[in-house]
């Protein structure tokens, strides 16, 4: 079963002032090369950079939507994250039909004791959720 092309892309601001968009420029998706997120990790490490902001962009029927995580210069007097992460989560019935598929892009702002997750549905990119995860709780699960 092949899933549809991703509709949600991550956008990162870096400590050198660059803004990188998934699937564009040095984060282009090239067959046989690391995924855009893994390319970003390598680029940041090799150039001794930091991710300073992260947002997700979803393409919907009525235009592009942008959802922002707290940045290193947060608006609204928020806390400053110590890191960022982005992943895709998939869940689906293995056999007997292609129904009941869940597929999300998740971006995380990581703080000392918690992380704030921004989830956008790849099935319906008009829908987004914010989730708060205590890191102590997460560690105790593993």
């Amino acid at each position: 079963m092949k899933l549809p092309e991703l509709k949600v892309k991550f956008i990162c601001g870096l400590s050198n002032g660059e803004n990188l968009i998934e699937d564009k420029g040095i984060l282009e998706r090239v067959e046989g090369e690391p995924s855009p997120w893994l390319k970003l990790q390598k680029y940041v490490k090799e150039n001794d950079l930091k991710i300073t902001s992260m947002s997700l962009q979803s393409k919907t029927d009525i235009g592009n939507r942008h959802y922002h995580l707290p940045s290193q210069h947060p608006r609204f007097q928020g806390e400053v994250p110590i890191g960022y992460n982005c992943f895709r989560w998939y869940a689906g019935d293995a056999v007997t039909g292609e129904g009941n598929i869940e597929h999300y892009t998740c971006a995380e702002a990581i703080f000392k004791d918690c992380k704030v997750q921004l989830w956008i549905s790849e099935v319906d990119p008009d829908k987004a959720w914010v989730n708060f995860v205590g890191l102590e709780n997460e560690e105790s699960k593993s």
Binding site: K2, L3, G32, P34, S35, L38, Y90, A94
Partner: protein, 184 residues
């Protein structure tokens, strides 16, 4: 290319389990029921039309004997840990055109309606190849956890043993197997 997921039942040759197919357990003959409390002597791929898609492929069967042992293809009791990748009934491939990691992988059976529920009227045991014991994988809260594939690659293979036993009389076709994972 977008993410692709392929399920196969392995045997002398593999049978691809397509979206409209199902995994069918029998007492040894396709279409014949397993007695309540007994376990599968054969595993087949059943088409939506009700035919045995895997008939000519001698599909592998793992039968639950005890929490740590199995019968492979009707053979004598063996430790589950001796199951090889080639003899594992299920081979699941997750692939992408770019190199990805696949982590936080969970697999479980449920009633086909609510993912936290146990399958209806049957016990489903799962094990990843190399595991020493079966997991009664009933609902997302009791899922089999598969090993992370943290080395990026364009294709990741997962090998799983499966065994099932009815706990009541009747067809159990509403139940489903579900796979969850994170990829980057």
């Amino acid at each position: 290319m977008a993410l692709t997921q392929t399920w196969r039942q392995q045997g002398t040759t593999a049978t691809t389990i397509d979206a409209t197919d199902s995994i069918a357990f029998s007492n040894g003959t396709f279409g014949q029921p397993i007695q309540v409390g007994s376990y599968n002597d054969k595993t087949h791929v059943r088409t939506s039309g009700g035919t045995d898609k895997s008939a000519s492929n001698s599909p592998h069967n793992t039968k639950y004997l005890t929490s740590t042992t199995m019968s492979l293809n009707g053979g004598a009791s063996a430790n589950l840990s001796t199951l090889t990748t080639a003899n594992s009934p299920l081979k699941i491939t997750v692939s992408e055109s770019v190199n990805i990691t696949v982590t936080d992988i969970k697999m479980y059976a449920y009633d086909g309606t609510t993912t936290t529920n146990a399958p209806s009227g049957m016990n489903v045991y799962l094990a990843e190849q190399g595991d020493t014991s079966w997991k009664l994988a009933h609902g997302s809260g009791n899922a089999l956890v598969l090993n992370d594939h943290s080395t990026a690659a364009t294709s990741h293979d997962f090998y799983v043993a499966i065994s099932a036993s009815p706990t009541s009389v009747g067809v159990k076709s509403a139940n489903k197997l579900r796979l969850e994972f994170v990829y980057q």
